[in-house]
Structures are given as structure tokens and as C-alpha cells.
């Protein structure tokens, strides 16, 4: 036993799920100094596909753990080292000098593998390591007539003055079969064509360019300047600091993110704001509540009157209830108002809508709104409830904030944010008195809604909320 040779072995992050490149360490079940046996579970990791437990392939004593829980590690990176042949009583072998972490600090040394520091990401070395080609190529007999190879440089070169023809590297030129066919049809030898595609692949355009050059008087090469590959560093995830929590993007969050990106980057947004004295509206809400005029058990909220105010404005300016049809190059003014209400639910933000809200009476609207909110809170909103919205209200006031710049629900032209109602000093009938004031914000798609239309709609909503009597006079 004592003669057993001790050696330090590293366990590398395996690819546990068919082609994954990284995994996050969730939990370590062992610590340095612990004795481990072959097959013992030492940690749990999570990949894009699954959370799995990793068994260590050695018998020995844990020497070092290279990454704390919560770190995302590339497949193939050593995550733990084990002194093989040691037992728990032994002191860790050669503490600092032979430890891989120390080796990382020695930046001078060219380490082929990406070895990380304990926290965060170390410098990234090149992706795949390829063996060097022999300097003298033993070419297959049948391609012996190919030009003798020089240096191994199959990549397109970023200097236009020195385009590298595929032939120069003495390999079979890279091209897709249809491009090969094209070259054959045009009588172009692919080995003479300058490749501009990724990784030195000859494109269809390259062949056409070569054909054009061949047809013209042999002048300078007319191949377009090859583009240097875009640095891929930008695609790397940001360094994970200690304590960061990484939440996988899926479900409602994913759908929301896609919708918001689609909306924010296709519709040019304009947001306008107005502060409004809603004391009368609040009084009306209170009276409706107390009287039960809208029906027994029907909930009456300020949001109901905001909805009614917006519907009133839409009736006066139907062009706000519209959508931009990019493919048809048309503006679609919707015949019906499907009023969306942004709702925070246990599943995340969703925007169900009240179908044909424009034709509903106030009591009907109150019932619809109550049902919509209940359904959403129970997480039972169906996909159909969320489709076909034409204009939306987001009630940010419930969170105690004054206003925001809402992003349009995709496919709609306007969204109204309803802020918190606060008691503020307000000039009312020539005197500064406490009044209930809120802020409304309206974002609209400037492709189809001009500032004038947007402003009129927002002003209308404000006017109704200031004097809810206008629901009758404008109704």
C-alpha cells in the first residue's frame, strides 16, 4: 500500500448531453481532503438539457476544486483534482507548486487548454486545436499534378491585395455541390477561384466573379474583398461574479423577451405623458362600488374607468386602434377593439385581451375585466385569450410607480400606462388643494401614428378621467 505511487489526476467537465459545450456547477458534495471512490457522485451540474450528477472516475483524496458552485464551465475543463493513491489522512501533495490553479497564474506559459482562475473566466484560447500538417505533404497519387503546397493557410486573408486562391494550399478546393456544378458548367477550375466564403469556402459569387474575370481581358482580380470573420468573442457569456444567479430563459419569459425585442426593434416608439387630476373619477369609482349599480359582486376599480376612457378615445379616433402590416405595406385599422390588459401572473407577464371591448357597456366591461384578471391570476389564461389584441393598458400604478415608457404589444399601435394615483398639491379652482393625481403615458408606433393623433388620444383619455361626465357627453 505504502509503495503505491501517488499522482494527481484531474476530472474534466464531461459532455453529458450530446454536443453541449458548457455546464453550470450547481452543488459540490465533496471538499478538498475528502476521500472519494471511483463512481462516487461528487457534484451536480446543469446543462441546457438537464441537471445531472457527476461521478468521479478515481479513487483517492480530493486535492482541489477549481470552480465554486454557480460557475458555468466549458466542457473539457478540469473541475476537480484528486490525489490518486492517497488516503484521507495524508497531507495534500505538493500544495501550491503542482496545483493547476497556480499554473494558471503563470500566464507566460502557453497553456493549450483554457484553464480558469477560481472565479470568473480566464482568457479564452482558440476553439479547436488542430494538429499541424506535415511540412512536406504526401499527396495522394491521383492529385500529384496539383500545385505544390506552400504554407498551411486555408483561411481567407483579410488583405485584399493578396487574395489566396484555393489552389495555393494544394487541397481540394472547398465548395458546395451546386457551386461545383456551376463551376463545371462555366468551365471554371475551382482551384483557380478566390474563396470569400467562411472558412475558405468558394461561393457561387466567387465562381461568377472568376467567370467574369476569365471572360474579360485578364486584368486585376475583381474578387470582392474578403471579409474577416466577425470576432466571436462578443457571443461569449458575461463573466459570472460570485453570487450571480443564472435563470434559464424559457416559457413565458422567453415568449415575452422575443415579443419585446420584436416590438422594440421594428416599431419606432414614441411615448407621451400627461398628469391628470382624477379626483372625480375616484369619487365615481367609490360611488359605483357602494351602490352596486354595476351588479352584485362586480368589482369596480379605477382601471375599469381607465379602460372605458381609452375605449371612448378609440371611438373618437379609430386610427389609433390599428396595426402595421409590413408584408402588405398597409395600415390595418381594426374594426373591433380587443382591449389587452397586461397582467403580472405567477407564470410571468401576460397580456390577455377583452374581445370586442368597444361594444361592451360599463357593467359588461366590469365583468369582463374581473374575469380576465381572475383567470390570469389562476394561471389559466388560454392562448386564445392572448391573441388578437388591438390596444393595451398596463397598470403600473399597482406597483406604486408613477409612469413608464411601455413597449408595444407586437402588432398593436398604442399602449397606455396607468400610474399610481397619489394625493398631491394641485391648483384646483384657483387654489392649491390636495387632489388625487395620476400620470398617464401613451406609447405609440410612429410609423402609423403621428404625434398629433397620439396626443389627441392621450388628451382624450385624460379629459375623460378628469371629468368622467364626458363618458356621457362623448358617449
Amino acid at each position: 500500500m505504502t509503495t503505491e505511487v501517488r499522482s494527481l489526476r484531474e476530472f474534466k467537465m464531461p459532455d453529458v448531453g450530446e454536443g453541449l459545450t458548457e455546464a453550470e456547477i450547481l452543488t459540490w458534495y465533496v471538499k478538498p481532503g475528502d476521500e472519494v471512490t471511483d463512481g462516487q457522485i461528487v457534484c451536480e451540474v446543469e446543462t441546457a438539457k438537464a441537471a445531472v450528477e457527476l461521478p468521479i472516475p478515481f479513487n483517492g483524496v480530493v486535492e482541489q476544486i477549481f470552480f465554486p458552485a454557480g460557475t458555468t464551465v466549458d466542457v473539457g475543463t478540469a473541475i476537480i483534482s484528486v490525489a490518486v493513491g492517497a488516503s484521507a489522512g495524508d497531507a495534500p501533495a505538493a500544495p501550491a507548486a503542482s496545483a493547476p490553479a497556480a499554473a494558471v497564474a503563470d500566464a507566460e506559459e502557453a497553456v493549450p487548454e483554457r484553464r480558469e482562475v477560481l472565479v470568473g473566466y480566464g482568457p479564452r484560447t482558440g476553439g479547436t486545436q488542430r494538429r499541424a500538417r506535415r511540412s512536406t505533404v504526401v499527396a495522394p497519387a491521383k492529385s500529384a499534378e496539383a500545385p505544390a503546397p506552400s504554407a498551411a493557410a486555408p483561411q481567407p486573408v483579410a488583405v485584399p491585395a493578396a487574395p489566396v486562391a484555393a489552389a495555393a494550399v494544394g487541397e481540394r478546393p472547398l465548395a458546395k455541390p451546386p457551386v461545383r456544378k456551376l463551376a463545371k458548367d462555366l468551365g471554371i477550375d475551382l482551384r483557380t477561384v478566390v474563396a470569400t466564403g467562411r472558412d475558405g469556402v468558394i461561393t457561387r459569387e466567387d465562381v461568377h466573379a472568376a467567370a467574369a474575370a476569365a471572360a474579360a481581358v485578364p486584368v486585376e482580380a475583381v474578387a470582392p474583398a474578403p471579409v474577416a470573420p466577425v470576432a466571436e468573442a462578443a457571443a461569449q457569456p458575461a463573466p459570472a461574479a460570485r453570487g450571480d444567479v443564472r435563470v434559464p430563459v424559457k416559457g413565458v419569459r422567453k415568449a415575452t423577451a422575443q415579443a419585446m425585442v420584436a416590438s422594440a426593434f421594428t416599431a419606432p416608439h414614441v411615448t407621451e405623458f400627461v398628469q391628470v387630476d382624477v379626483t372625480r373619477t375616484m369619487k365615481l369609482v367609490r360611488k359605483l362600488k357602494e351602490s352596486g349599480d354595476l351588479g352584485a359582486g362586480v368589482r369596480v376599480s379605477p382601471l375599469l374607468l381607465v379602460a372605458k376612457a381609452l375605449l371612448t378615445a378609440v371611438r373618437r379616433y379609430p386610427e389609433i386602434n390599428a396595426a402595421w402590416d409590413e408584408s402588405a405595406q398597409e395600415i390595418v385599422i381594426k374594426g373591433q377593439v380587443n382591449l389587452g390588459i397586461a397582467a403580472a401572473t405567477p407564470r410571468g407577464l401576460i397580456v390577455p385581451n377583452i374581445k370586442d371591448a368597444g361594444s361592451q357597456t360599463l357593467p359588461q366591461l366590469a365583468v369582463s375585466l374581473g374575469e380576465l384578471i381572475d383567470t390570469a391570476r389562476q394561471g389559466k389564461t388560454s392562448p386564445a385569450d392572448m391573441q388578437g389584441g388591438t390596444i393595451t393598458i398596463t397598470n403600473v400604478g399597482v406597483f406604486g410607480v408613477d409612469t413608464g415608457t411601455p413597449i408595444l404589444n407586437p402588432g398593436e399601435a398604442a399602449i397606455l400606462a396607468f400610474g399610481a394615483v397619489r394625493e398631491l398639491p394641485w391648483v384646483h379652482k384657483g387654489k392649491v388643494v390636495p387632489r388625487q393625481v395620476t400620470t398617464l403615458a401613451l406609447s405609440f408606433d410612429h410609423r402609423l401614428v403621428d404625434g398629433e393623433l397620439g396626443s389627441r388620444v392621450l388628451a382624450d383619455v385624460a379629459a375623460v378621467l378628469e371629468r368622467p361626465k364626458r363618458l356621457i357627453t362623448w358617449g
Binding site: E18, D38, V52, I56, P57, A141
Partner: protein, 384 residues
């Protein structure tokens, strides 16, 4: 009036169906053939009698334990990066060992990619199976030597291969039979329906052995079928039986009956082994994302090994020394598998050209020469 009389006539006719046309295990209760309860009690079934010796019982127990151990070791090796992928059979040992041991030497099995227990019964070396999942061979056993076809990854495709093979047996006039393994998910594949049709009309000696492990990756059986799967057989005109897939004795008895039925000119049989995939679909899958742990817990109580062990103990057919011996043997197997996999040499890359055609082929030879020259153009050795 006519409708009424027809209905009455049909009603009358039902009990009069001759016994040879009655769908075994379908029209008569109990639906689930079981010979060993989860508590380890032996149950008799007049339709599927099973005379079995203590030696045979102990041998089945050994199979179950070793197969499970091998499977667990493979999962562990995948987690260590030694295998590209592994499809665990955890929970399905009895269905595979029971049916595998029912085969005669001349019978032929067409597996999916999860039939490690059947491979064990057909004497395919576990390391040979792992070579494929490590990517160092392309299915390293000779199917005709083991009468065990190469693993088929394409879902359900092997049911057609099996049917074709079975039709060939009939033409040869042999009395062998074939087993086609597939799962509940594959039952939705067109290939399986086609295989059923051909097997039925050609009266092919093939047993369709469906391990209904309840989950086709993340799809429950309820979205695959509206009737119990074994009843599908009646639509194709051959018997269907549902057997407790966690009961190795029932699987053995029913499969033995089905193979004999097939080899004696009775035509195909569909066996639905009602079981449960205790683990993930493959090592790339995480079942906690789509199924409840309560369900898995409930199936744990039906474990195939526990019930056979309980039976052996209750009947005094095995002692502590026997169980300890099996345990030691399984440790040994684990070690052999671990070390064997880790020390598997990388194959010669030109192996890929070896079995493209049965006979020499000019184009393949040309490509081989081209590849060899290419590989030799690298520094540091011919192929490495």
C-alpha cells in the same frame, strides 16, 4: 327494425366466438397477466402456466441484478465523459430478461437501442454494447452469431426488419421465431402498423414485444393511444396480451407461449409489457421536467428485482450466501466494465470503409486510399 335485429344478432354472437379466435388476454379478465405479485407471491394463471425450478429462479435473479448493475455503470461512465450517450433500462430489467430467456437459441431478436437485458441473454458482451455508445465501433457484434440484430436507433424501423426476417423463416420452413422489440412511442410509427399488417397477412412467426414504459421521452402513453396498446392487435387480426412487465416470470411465460404460438404456425402475437422507465429517456434527458416524482415512487414499489428477491427469501430458495455472491459478482462486472471502457483503444479511422459493401468496391477503395493519404499528411503518426 333491421338495426335492432343486427344489434341483437351481434350481441348473441359474441360469446359464441370460437376459442381459437378469441383474443387471448383481451376478452377475458384479468387484463394484466401476473405470476409474481409485487410482494413476491406466486400467482397461478391457467392460460400461462409456468413450471420453474429453484435454479432457474436464482438464475433469473442473477440476470436481473447483473443487468441492472451493468446499466448503472454505463450511466456513470457517460457522466464521466467516457460514453457519448446511454439509454438506461432501469426498471425494465424483468421485461427484457423474461422475454430474452424465453427465446430458443435459433430465435432471433430485433432490438431498439435499450435492449441491454436482451443483449445479455443473447450473450453479447456488455463491453461490446458500450463500444457503440463510446463511438469506437458501429455495433461490434456479429448479429448472425448472436441472433441479436444490431441496435436500431430509428424508432420502430426494426419491426419491419423483424417481420421480413420472420417471413423468410417461413419460406425456409424452419421452426424458429422472431421477437421485435419496440416501445410505446414507436407504436405511433407507421412502420409498426406496416409490420403488423405484413406479419398478420403473411402469418409470420414474429412476436411484437412492446415495452410500454409509459413515456416516449416526455410524451405520456395517454397521448399515444386511446385504448390499451395490446388491443391494437385485434384490429390486425392476431392475439394481444398485456403482461406485468415488472414480473420476470410472467414475461417469461407469456413470451414463451407467444414464441411457440408463432413458430407453430399461429402467426404473430403482440405482447404489451406494462412497465416503467425509472430513469431518463437517455443521459441527455431530465425527466423531472415533465413527470411527477410521485409517479416514479409508486412504480418503485413494483420493482422487478425486489419482488423476485422477496419470493426467493419467502420460499427459502436462496440464502444470504447466494445474495452476497451475486453482489460480489455484480461488483466484479462493474469493475470490468469500468476498466474495459476506459481502456478501449480508439479504432483505426479507416475501419469506416470496411463494411460498406460485402465485396470489394472500387469507389470505396479509392476513398479509402484518399483518406489514408490525407491522414498521413499530419505530423505525429499515421492516424493519431
Amino acid at each position: 327494425m333491421t338495426v335492432k335485429s343486427t344489434a341483437r344478432a351481434r350481441k348473441k354472437a359474441a360469446p359464441g366466438v370460437p376459442d381459437n379466435l378469441r383474443i387471448k388476454g383481451t376478452d377475458a379478465p384479468p387484463e394484466l397477466v401476473q405470476l409474481l405479485t409485487p410482494e413476491g407471491e406466486r400467482v397461478e394463471n391457467p392460460e400461462f402456466p409456468l413450471a420453474i425450478t429453484a435454479d432457474e429462479l436464482r438464475s433469473l435473479y442473477r440476470d436481473l441484478v447483473l443487468v441492472r448493475r451493468f446499466d448503472a455503470e454505463a450511466t456513470s461512465l457517460q457522466r464521466q465523459g467516457e460514453l457519448g450517450l446511454w439509454a438506461s433500462l432501469l426498471g425494465q430489467e424483468a421485461a427484457q430478461v423474461g422475454s430474452g430467456r424465453a427465446m430458443r437459441p435459433g430465435d432471433y431478436a430485433f432490438p431498439t437501442y435499450r435492449e441491454h437485458g436482451v443483449a445479455w441473454c443473447r450473450d453479447v458482451d456488455p463491453l461490446n454494447l458500450l463500444g457503440m455508445f463510446r463511438g469506437v465501433n458501429h455495433g461490434g457484434w456479429d448479429p448472425n452469431e448472436k441472433n441479436f440484430h444490431l441496435y436500431t436507433i430509428v424508432i420502430g424501423a426494426q419491426t419491419l426488419h423483424a417481420t421480413g426476417y420472420a417471413m423468410g423463416i417461413t419460406k425456409d420452413g424452419a421452426d424458429d421465431a422472431v421477437i421485435a422489440y419496440f416501445g410505446d412511442g414507436a407504436s405511433s410509427q407507421g412502420d409498426v402498423s406496416e409490420a403488423f399488417t405484413f406479419a398478420s397477412v403473411y402469418n409470420a412467426p414474429v412476436v411484437f414485444f412492446c415495452q410500454n414504459n409509459q413515456w416516449a421521452i416526455s410524451e405520456p402513453t395517454t397521448v399515444q393511444t386511446r385504448i390499451p396498446l395490446y388491443r391494437r392487435a385485434s384490429g390486425f387480426g392476431f392475439p394481444g396480451v398485456r403482461v406485468d412487465g415488472n414480473d420476470v416470470l410472467a414475461c417469461l411465460a407469456v413470451t414463451r407461449w407467444a414464441l411457440d404460438h408463432a413458430r407453430n404456425g399461429g402467426g404473430p402475437v403482440l405482447i404489451e409489457a406494462f412497465t416503467y422507465r425509472m430513469g431518463a429517456h437517455t443521459t441527455s434527458d431530465d425527466p423531472t421536467r415533465y413527470r411527477l416524482s410521485e409517479e416514479t415512487e409508486a412504480w418503485k414499489a413494483k420493482d422487478p428485482i425486489t419482488r423476485l428477491k422477496a419470493h426467493l427469501e419467502q420460499e427459502g430458495l436462496a440464502d444470504e450466501a447466494f445474495f452476497a455472491g451475486i453482489e460480489a459478482e455484480s461488483e466484479e462486472l462493474g469493475l470490468r466494465v469500468r476498466e474495459g471502457v476506459r481502456s478501449m483503444p480508439d479504432p483505426d479511422p479507416t475501419l469506416i470503409f470496411d463494411h460498406v459493401y460485402a465485396e470489394p468496391h472500387a469507389l470505396v477503395e479509392e476513398e479509402r486510399a484518399e483518406y489514408e493519404a490525407y491522414a498521413a499528411s499530419f505530423e505525429g503518426g499515421e492516424n493519431h
